[in-house]
């Protein structure tokens, strides 16, 4: 009879004489019997999905033989521990993930913006006037976005200070997202706080045409699927003028934001295990508004901003033989920002990135990864000031890195990962070594404990490299520990972390604004996450809470204190509900962030003023129907339906007025609410 190593009876196991048709299936009681031809020995094989094959050579001299077979459970995703410290994964591929890609799109308040949806996860601080990701007490530049492993230069569209930016990429492009809030793999670098890893979709399943009509614009796309390849092309245009004409804005727009662009996505399956991906997008956005002048904020002038951005990424992945996987990729980014407000600023940034990676899996318990990267970037800035003086500055930088990582599944219940990253930043002539370590233990049937520690470096930002080359990279040391329990439909996760920052860039006002790396800081806190998809029928909700204590001395800070993007408490409650009779999914998101500190130059103390607490209640609904006999989604969303009066502090003039006072204007959202409606139609190409 057949049993498992847990003493359970196995029904349906295949027990047979290897190399013949003779065999039987274990019945409801685990018993089997079969006859086979006479021979001295019989090679008995028993197999059952989810268990290791059983093999034994039996003496076939007797007329009948009784055989007790015990099958060992084999390692699989659900019973094997994985490292989860510092990472939130959203993917369709794996089962033990906390989010599905569709979750990102359907979260209210996000208006299908990737950063907006990620802001409802723990570890992020809501900084409403920015629109970018601020992770665990780190500044926005400390989070780096990677698409298929290659860094993206400008993942957000260009905006002016205090007008939120939006992520450039549609969440539908990605089959998997890993949002790492710290302690991420040695494969990635140049991000002090967090890495947002986006993995693009594989071959499109079928050909189709899609049309999107929105209150802010339209998009048209066509996907063609061939036997082993697919190509998707899309063009989009958006213009906020009609919307702003209807709804009162608190700012005056000369030209409401207008953008147009196109993208293509090509996939080719080069073999049964290989895939080539080439994708790119090109976009241009323009706006002109009445914007406060920096020197005297109560006076506004017309500001014109235009941005042109081109991005292309090609990568190839193939499995070689039994144990090797190869990845090579290259990307090219070119971004041009032009801003005029009496002055004329032109900033051009371009970069070429390349990466190769080899994965060796000698057996199912060990995998070894090695790889390297080479990035070449150019930065050029031309500034024509109000008096007509032209300043030009430019530089180029070569960044090289080598990384290795060993993932060792010590047992079903313990896994360890050790990695190293060595890199060189040409322009500051600096070598860094960043070791990283993480492990996880299974503490129970459905729960596990995970730990991560490592060093993270990031070269100084372009704004500083412009003026000074004798600088070091900024550095952060992470310590993270988490415990999570995942059951059918419910997830609970708690994570505690400590980050120590060293060598942060400082500007010394007493030394003619000299730049050096004298800054330091810390960020520590606890994040909680709870998700429940079963208690309420057709309902799905998650709660996330972050507690953060962070202080730093960097840039022009005279003392070590909490920077203005840090809030002590951040809460998000997300609820989604499907109503069958209406074919509609409704969503509601509530967010709260405790007050943040900002500086008033009129007072002697630094960062001693507080904003109001931030609150938002957003709503969305997706109605599935048919229009022109084609599958259609009607999507409606409204942010801040409760009409909270949020304020993000004050913006002060850089120069004092005649009374020696620095005047100020409040920083507020551009409008109290943002309402959006869109109709997405998918046309069947061949029917």
């Amino acid at each position: 009879m057949v049993q498992s190593n847990d003493n359970e009876i196995i029904v349906g196991a295949n027990v047979y004489n290897e190399g013949t048709f003779d065999g039987a299936t274990s019945d409801i009681n685990g018993y089997f019997h079969f006859k086979t031809s006479k021979s001295e020995e019989v090679n008995v094989l028993a197999s059952y999905l989810g268990y290791e094959d059983f093999y034994r050579v039996i003496d076939n001299t007797k007329d009948s033989i009784f055989l007790q077979i015990i099958l060992e459970e084999s390692a699989n995703e659900l019973n094997t521990v994985v490292i989860t410290a510092g990472a939130f994964e959203a993917s369709d591929e794996k089962k033990a993930v906390l989010l599905k890609p569709l979750d990102i799109v359907t979260t209210a308040g996000a208006t299908a913006d990737l950063a907006g949806a990620l802001n409802t996860l723990p570890g992020t601080q809501t900084v409403g006037e920015e629109g970018r990701l601020f992770v665990r007490g780190g500044d926005a530049y400390e989070t780096q976005t990677f698409i298929d492993g290659l860094p993206v230069l400008k993942p957000y569209n260009s905006s002016v200070p205090n007008i939120p930016a939006r992520n450039r990429f549609s969440p539908f492009l990605f089959k998997g997202t890993v949002f790492s809030t710290g302690g991420y793999s040695a494969e990635y670098g140049q991000a002090l706080s967090s890495a947002l890893l986006l993995n693009t979709q594989d071959l499109a399943p079928k050909s189709e045409t899609s049309l999107s009509l929105m209150s802010v614009g339209l998009a048209l796309g066509k996907t063609q699927r061939w036997d082993k390849s697919s190509l998707a092309v899309q063009a989009d245009y958006s213009n906020l003028a009609p919307y702003m004409g209807l709804i009162d804005q608190d700012l005056k727009w000369y030209k409401a934001p207008e953008s147009f662009g196109g993208q293509f996505i090509y996939r080719k399956q080069t073999s049964s295990t290989g895939i080539l991906k080439v994708q790119g997008n090109l976009s241009r956005n323009i706006l002109a508004m009445d914007y406060p002048s920096a020197e005297e904020v109560t006076i506004t002038n017309r500001l014109d901003l235009s941005n042109t951005n081109a991005y292309i990424n090609a990568n190839y992945k193939e499995i070689l033989g039994d144990k090797w996987t190869l990845f090579i990729g290259a990307g090219w980014n070119n971004n041009l920002d032009e801003i005029q407000q009496g002055f004329d600023l032109e900033e051009r940034e371009s970069s070429l990135q390349s990466k190769w990676k080899l994965l060796y899996t000698p057996n199912e318990d060990i995998s070894i990864k090695v790889g390297g990267e080479y990035w070449h970037s150019n930065f050029n800035q031309q500034f024509l000031d109000k008096e007509g003086e032209l300043y030009e500055i430019g530089f180029s930088n070569n960044y090289t890195a080598l990384f290795n990582e060993v993932n060792w599944q010590i047992s079903r219940n313990v896994v360890a990962r050790i990695g190293n990253r060595i890199s060189n930043t040409g322009i500051i002539n600096e070598w860094t070594w960043a070791p990283r370590l993480s492990f996880a233990w299974k503490t129970g049937d459905k729960s596990q404990l995970s730990f991560a520690h490592g060093q993270f470096f990031q070269a100084p930002q372009n704004d500083f490299l412009r003026f000074e080359r004798d600088l070091q990279s900024e550095q952060a040391t992470h310590w993270i520990i988490n415990w999570q329990r995942v059951t059918e439909g419910r997830t609970f996760r708690v994570e505690a972390y400590e980050k120590q920052y060293h060598n942060l860039i400082t500007i010394n006002p007493n030394e003619n604004l000299a730049l050096s790396n004298q800054g330091n800081g810390y960020a520590r806190g606890i994040d909680l996450f709870f998700r429940d998809r079963t208690t309420i029928k057709n309902g799905d909700y998650w709660l996330s809470y972050s507690y953060l204590d962070a202080k730093r001395k960097y840039r022009d800070f005279p003392v070590k204190t909490a920077p203005n993007f840090v809030s002590r408490h951040n809460v998000s409650v997300v609820y989604k509900h499907w109503v069958n009779q209406l074919n509609t999914q409704f969503g509601l998101t509530y967010s709260y962030a405790s007050p943040r500190w900002y500086d008033d130059p009129n007072t002697p103390t630094f960062n001693d003023r507080q904003t109001r607490a931030f609150q938002d209640l957003s709503f969305n609904a997706s109605y599935l129907t048919r229009l022109f006999d084609q599958f259609t989604i009607v999507y409606v969303s409204v942010t801040n339906i409760a009409g909270f009066a949020n304020s993000f502090g004050q913006r002060f003039s850089t120069n004092p007025n005649e009374d020696g006072l620095y005047t100020a204007i409040p920083i507020q959202p551009t409008a109290k609410r943002f309402a959006f409606i869109g109709v997405f139609i998918s046309f069947e190409s061949d029917k």
Binding site: G12, I28, K206
Partner: protein, 219 residues
């Protein structure tokens, strides 16, 4: 989306050539196919699946044993789902997919394998209709269209297409009305079809007839 997306056990009729056939392979296959035909419960289906697995290990260049093994596992999966044993159901679906993958490597241009792939994709939809419906439905039609491109006379492709359409929610383009022409097409193809050999798949005629009658009633 709680609309009924799946169907219970398939019924099919195999037509045997009763002339004696030489070769152990032919004999073993015929025996196992008849085991599969006569299977009335999950245990019998798994026994048939295992018989095909043993044959496939010996006759390792043939796609047919793997095809039937996959088919038997999918039938078992449907049975498990009927008795609400979702974890065992998904185990069978995973096994069916793994076996089908091997079969496709042996015979990448065989239409029947793409039709079976559509059935396996349906299995993944059973796991979580909300999360997987939108992903796998286009894949099901994609793979059936490839099957039709390879063999326009194969009735099972039209049956699967019609069945999938019949049980899909209306806003996805499904329902009795849109399914009707597809099912009529399936019946027509069945009436003209003869399999390449007595071992080749020949199931679904009764199912097509039954579904067509249902579709006509609900129109």
């Amino acid at each position: 989306m709680k609309s009924i997306y799946y169907v219970g056990l398939f019924f099919f009729v195999a037509i045997f050539n009763l002339n004696a056939q030489q070769g152990k392979y032919q004999e073993a296959m015929k025996k196992s196919i008849s085991e599969l035909n006569e299977a009335k419960d999950i245990e019998a289906l798994l026994t048939a699946a295992n018989s095909f697995e043993r044959i496939s290990k010996v006759a390792d260049k043939e796609w047919l044993p793997l095809y039937y093994q996959s088919f038997a596992q999918m039938q078992a999966a449907a049975g498990f789902m009927g008795s609400k044993q979702m974890d065992k159901c998904m185990q069978s679906v995973e096994k069916a997919q793994a076996v089908l993958k091997t079969a496709l490597e042996l015979a990448p241009n065989e239409a029947e394998l793409y039709i079976m792939q559509a059935y396996v994709y349906q299995g993944y939809i059973w796991e979580d209709v909300q999360a997987n419906g939108a992903k796998f439905t286009p894949m099901i039609f994609g793979v059936l269209e490839r099957a039709i491109a390879m063999d326009a006379d194969n009735p099972r492709a039209y049956l699967m297409k019609g069945q999938q359409t019949y049980f899909m929610p209306e806003f996805f383009g499904g329902g009795a009305k849109t399914a009707l022409p597809l099912l009529e097409q399936a019946e027509e193809k069945y009436s003209k079809y003869t399999p390449a050999s007595e071992l080749h798949p020949n199931w679904g005629k009764d199912r097509a007839k039954a579904l067509l009658a249902q579709a006509r009633e609900n129109n």
